[in-house]
Amino acid sequence: MEVFVVSLLNGLVYGMLLFMLASGLTLIFSMMGVLNFAHASVYMLGAYFAYTISLYLGFWPALILAPILCGLLGAAIEMYGLRQVHRHGHIPELLFTFGLALIIEKVVQMTWGMVAVPYRIPDGLDFSLFTIYGTQFPAYRAFMLLISALMFAAIWLGLTRTRIGLIIQASLTHPDMVGALGHNVPRVFTIVFAAGTALAGLAGVIGGNYRVTEPGMAFSMGPIVFVVVVFGGLGSLTGCFIASIIMGLIQTFAVVLDYSLADLLELVGIVVTKATPGAEFLTVSLPRIGALLPFILLVLILVLRPRGLMGTRDT
């Protein structure tokens, strides 16, 4: 029970962090059909920007400034990069973001060094909020949950209750029609791209000190965010939300549940020893394949149900 509740909370925190990254990517992906490989790189940049800003101005200004910087960067990428490449077709667009991810990683290494930077949780939030079954729950995790919940509410309200939100929703499915009605669809694209990258930057600001701020963080996070986006389905924010939470829970629970197929077989009376055929495969424990689970899910969902959990069309 104890392990269950603590893991549930941690899974929720991680899931919400994933959602922050994935929500922006989902919007970009559904709208432009571009799988933005550089999305996780912007997440990394958000963390590094926040680190540098918090050295001079403190954490709270960084919480505002770093996402804005990321958003501006996103707008620039869309206007001067993606739009240029767009006329060459989909594959060059994908490759463009892929190359961008390579470059950003290298630039980060050049600017902040190869090793992790000491980006820490602000002192004001560095205490334990409550104790549950003897395990302390840090206030910072509650803060993360709060920020991501606020963000979810803001996106949802923005998309469903505002004029620009409605235009964005329409552009998701019928970009040509929206253009014909006299809306500036390229500008809508830029706005969505900038907002999406700003969200990724925000995720970086609050995720960077929760996890570790190092040059490898983009490449470890990127594929998982793709999994969430595909799993949730194109064009569906709700699907993306559910997928993020599921993925967060799966990854957290996989770490604490130390079982393997061999343990399962023991329940039905088959004891696996070193001599059993396939023993190496059967004795792999769940924590070890924890990191693999998202990719297994990715492959399965793309093969069996390419539109994802709640998607409206195929990937």
Binding site: G33, L35, G81, Q84, V85, H88, G89, H90, I91, P92, L94, L95, F96, F98, G99, L100, L102, I103, K106, V107, Q109, M110, T111, W112, G113, M114, F219, P223, F226, V227, V230, E280, F281, V284, R288, I289, A291, L292, F295, I296, L298, V299, L302, V303, P306, D314, T315
Partner: protein, 429 residues
């Protein structure tokens, strides 16, 4: 078919063979009578990377399938070869000649292609790219998990010196292995070229160009994709086998994402449209990797920037750029482009030098200085902590970029005039 016709049509193959045989002798140490080990390794890496990139292009260029996990085919081929070599060595098997060992890698890649391809080719386009990405991550993680086949982090070591050669060659020296490598990479490349001429190759092009019409004609695009994937797996496996022969150790790096990315970079920078593009791309990528990395740790950044520039301005790759000149060359007016090219070259060099200087200064401040290295740029010692080098570098980079933009406009005018002229004379563009 008379031989002269064949030669005129396929002179590129002969040129590649001659270059591959002759290039190591440029670095030959005549005084001691031995080959330069570095040059041979570099050439081998280029050759096997070229095979790998060509096999990647069977998917990207010819079938329009963007794969992010092509290295699994390469890696499995490499592991297969290592195990085969160890098995031959342990049991003293004489019926399997050393010359045929790379076939083991091919079979490994083929098997992997049958399994992974069945899953991946269910979808096309972005979904295909995502599945291959997932498969790539799965295989790389599995390689660290299952010790018996993959050997964990240490990988599998092997020894290429086996005594079953048909020609009685021991393959103990780097030159002997290099010759075997030339033979196999030429063989694989020619086979891949012939494949593009078969109905399968043509239909693969058709599914790339218009997926729906191909279905109307009566082909099943999924089957075409599957076949193309399996065959690409065979050739990627051969490239992996050559890797094993050269390095005699296979680690999980061979099937990790970086390797896949290298194939992608090589195929794209070289150009996916023509058959020979990936070969050119492999030479450039490996050259940057091995040559430039001797001088700077930022080589990956230069590669990334080169890649982005290619994606933005020359999606046809290097081979595409060369191809664009064909109509002008046929008019015999290539000389008129000489001056515009020289004029564009000057700002490119200026801007490039500025950019390189900025990158090197930045790298030195964060990485190089910590290692106690002294920075010298263009043969001049530079202090990366003072302001002047930075200012000069930034000014050079910005001025070069602006100047290049202005020159670029002039260049485009000249270029368009020539192309218009070519069109007017009825020379195909």
């Amino acid at each position: 078919m008379n031989p002269l016709y064949l030669l005129r049509r396929h002179w590129v193959w002969l040129a590649i063979l001659v270059i591959m045989l002759a290039a190591p002798f440029l670095f030959y140490d005549w005084s001691r009578g031995r080959h330069s080990g570095f040059a041979l390794t570099l050439m081998s890496e280029m050759a096997l990377m070229a095979v790998f990139a060509l096999s990647y292009n069977m998917l990207m260029g010819q079938a329009g399938l963007l794969s992010f996990g092509h290295a699994i085919l390469f890696g499995i081929g490499a592991y297969f070869t290592a195990h085969t070599l160890n098995w031959v060595k342990a049991n003293d098997i004489m019926w399997l000649p050393a010359e045929l060992i790379p076939l083991a890698g091919g079979v490994g890649g083929l098997c992997c292609g049958i399994v992974a391809g069945y899953v991946a080719t269910q979808q096309r386009s972005t979904a295909f790219a995502m599945i291959t990405l997932g498969l790539g991550e799965l295989f790389a993680a599995a390689a660290l998990m299952f010790m018996t086949f993959f050997g964990g982090e240490g990988g599998i070591t092997t020894n290429r010196v086996i005594h079953s050669s048909i020609f009685g060659v021991a393959y103990s020296s780097a030159w002997q292995v290099y010759c075997l490598l030339i033979a196999w990479s030429m063989f694989a490349a020619i086979l891949m070229y012939l494949l593009t001429q078969t109905p399968l190759g043509r239909i693969a092009n058709a599914t790339r160009d218009n997926y729906e019409r191909t279905q109307f004609v009566g082909y099943n695009p999924r089957v075409v994709r599957y076949w193309q994937f399996i065959l690409a797996g065979f050739f990627a496996g051969i490239a992996g086998a050559l890797y094993t022969l050269v390095y005699e150790i296979v680690t999980f790096d061979t099937l990790a994402a970086v390797k896949s990315a290298n194939a992608l970079l090589a195929a794209f920078i070289g150009g996916g449209g023509g058959f020979f593009g990936p070969i050119l791309g492999a030479v450039v990528v490996v050259g940057l990797q091995s040559g430039v990395s001797l001088f700077t740790s930022a080589w990956l950044l230069y590669l990334g920037v080169l890649f982005i520039v290619m994606v933005m301005y020359a999606p046809g790759g290097l081979i595409g750029i060369i191809g664009l000149h064909a109509p002008i060359a046929r008019m015999g007016r290539l000389g008129e482009l000489m001056v515009p090219y020289l004029r564009a070259l000057v700002p490119t060099v200026v801007g490039g030098a500025g950019f390189v200087a900025v990158v090197e200064l930045a790298t030195h401040r964060t990485i190089g200085a910590a290692q106690g290295k002294k920075l010298s740029l263009f043969a001049m010692p530079v202090d990366s902590s003072s302001l002047w080098p930075w200012a000069i570098a930034v000014v050079l980079a910005v001025a070069g970029a602006l100047w290049l933009r202005a020159e670029g406009r002039q260049f485009r005018l000249r270029w368009n005039a020539l192309i218009e002229d070519a069109k007017a004379r009825g020379i195909g563009v």
